[in-house]
Amino acid sequence: MTSHIMDDTVNMNDGAGSVTVPRADLHVSMRGVHKVFRRRRQVVEALRSVDLDVQRGEFVSLLGPSGCGKSTLLRVIGGLVEPDGGVVEVAGQLPTIARKTKQYGLVPQTPALMPWATVERNVRFLSSLDAGRRSDAASLSDRDIDDLIDTVGLAGFRTSYPHELSGGMQQRVSLVRGFALGAPILLMDEPFAALDEITRAEMRYLLLDLWQRTGTTVVFVTHSITEAVILSDRVVVMAARPGRIAAVEPISLGRPRLPEMEDAPEFHEHVRVLRDHLQDHS
């Protein structure tokens, strides 16, 4: 079921705390992570004692309603939000160190492209920042990046500016930009939320294609149950007030995922189980 992971003998961590995996295959490890937001002396518990492990090459979705802390959790992994308690390690390093060595490819909710730069320059934005600095992630070669641009169907738009592209095409640029850094871990914050349903469906399989080619680890935030099922190896269900992990559901659909699978009884069973989890904890 996880054929892209080289070592099949590894036990998948199937939920709260049972860790039996060798350290080398553990990409992200979180233990007892707390995060509290304070605004005008009002305290909101964004994350309460979160334990989560992500394998190298795994596709994990964080699923939950708005305000359940899934974006915060993503940012804690990425070293963009400092947790108030607990331990986070990414490839054995602190997230802030992993950030310095360019371990993350971030795909935000909006395309967030530079309006003054062409598609080509936008795609290379992350890899071109501080080009001279040490980086563990080997930036993709120009040829590989061009291949990615072709794969997502932007071949004819290399020299176009963002305002000349549709919303779906802009999000593709953002997707390629995330991959172009060659970072071992991709953090995606509801990247398809602003797209129409038809474009979204198309983008999911495009993302899976890119993921399978590059073998990166993906942490994917979404509030769509079906999206989480069709994309993920495991779905982490989160609940709000306080933000916490309510359940972890391994997805048993085979790889590669195909649109037909969305009609399979297995798919609908996963959707049903996840929906129950979400309802139980709302």
């Binding site: 310095k100 993350y104 909710q109 909006t110 530079m114 501080d130």
Partner: protein, 293 residues
């Protein structure tokens, strides 16, 4: 309307339209588009011209109808004839004023960018210096211009200071706002690879500030001319359009033509500078929403 469902799209390529849609006359729609494009072009270029010429025409007619004496208010045609009669005078003095105004304009731009950079990086410096910037802006320049002349003496120096001062604040306020206007998602992306502040500044903040700087430039063009003319009034100048206005005001009966001629040439210079900035903006900000109609 002709129904074209019998025409193969590939065959109809010889006509205006390459596509045939049953029940729709595409040629007619394309003709209508052309008509609309012509109307747009007229609105953009024709309408402003009609506005200016119309204003001058009404002025000309009113002067004629009410028989306004020449030494009270000359007709625009007479003013234009006067300028055409002695173009050397206006070119000579116009050049002086344009030089002073541009010098002040660019000095203000450079200083404001430097100050704006520091302010964008330090909230303390911004908070501490904003009241001063506001004071510079709200205190009438005409009140402290003489003080600057007393301080610095006659000549180009006080004119340059006065012109730079009036242009400085719009550039400063807009550069600070511009540096801050970066898409927060782009900033987070830069943070996710630990980009240094200096890199973020040049790669994200500077380009984001360009639309703001162009808005400031449009305001500053007019202010630079105000500063230069005002400076010439007070700084004992012997050349420049401000000087021409001042000498004409002293002898209005003899030199009223020169007074109005200078006003017309100043207006012309300001309009040309604004057009130049618009053209630059069109090239530099082709990616910005303000450049789309």
């Amino acid at each position: 309307m002709s129904v074209r469902d019998d025409i193969d799209p590939a065959e109809s390529a010889g006509g205006m339209a390459d596509v045939a849609v049953p029940g729709v006359d595409i040629d007619e729609l394309l003709v209508a588009d052309d008509r609309r494009a012509r109307q747009q072009a007229f609105l953009r270029f024709g309408a402003p011209l009609i506005g200016v010429v119309g204003f001058l025409l009404v002025w000309q007619i009113l002067v004629a109808v009410f028989d306004v004496p020449r030494f009270v208010l000359p007709a625009p045609w007479d003013i234009l004839k006067h300028i055409a009669g002695d173009p050397g005078f206006y070119i000579r003095n116009g050049r002086v004023t344009v030089w002073e105004a541009s010098l002040g304009f660019f000095t203000a731009l450079v200083l404001a960018l430097a100050a704006g950079t520091v302010m964008a990086h330090s909230p303390f410096v911004e908070r501490a210096s904003m009241p001063l910037a506001v004071l510079i802006q709200v205190t009438p320049i005409i009140a402290y211009a003489p003080a600057i002349v007393v301080w610095l003496g006659f000549g180009l120096k006080p004119i340059l200071v006065i012109t730079s001062l009036v242009c400085f604040v719009p550039f400063l306020v807009n550069s600070v706002a511009g540096f801050r206007s970066v898409d927060p998602n782009l900033l987070e992306l830069a943070r996710s690879v630990d980009a240094r502040k200096r890199v973020v500044f040049w790669r994200l903040r500077v380009p984001s500030s360009l639309p703001f700087l162009f808005s400031a430039a449009r305001i500053a063009v007019g202010l630079a001319l105000v500063g230069a003319v005002l400076g010439e009034f007070f700084a004992g100048s012997t050349a420049g359009l401000g000087y021409a206005v001042k000498t004409a005001q002293a002898r209005p009966i003899q030199l009223l033509d020169q007074l109005w001629g200078s006003i017309f040439v100043l207006g012309f210079i300001g309009a040309m500078a604004t057009l130049l900035i618009s053209a630059l903006e069109r090239v530099a900000l082709h990616w910005h929403s303000s450049q789309r109609l």
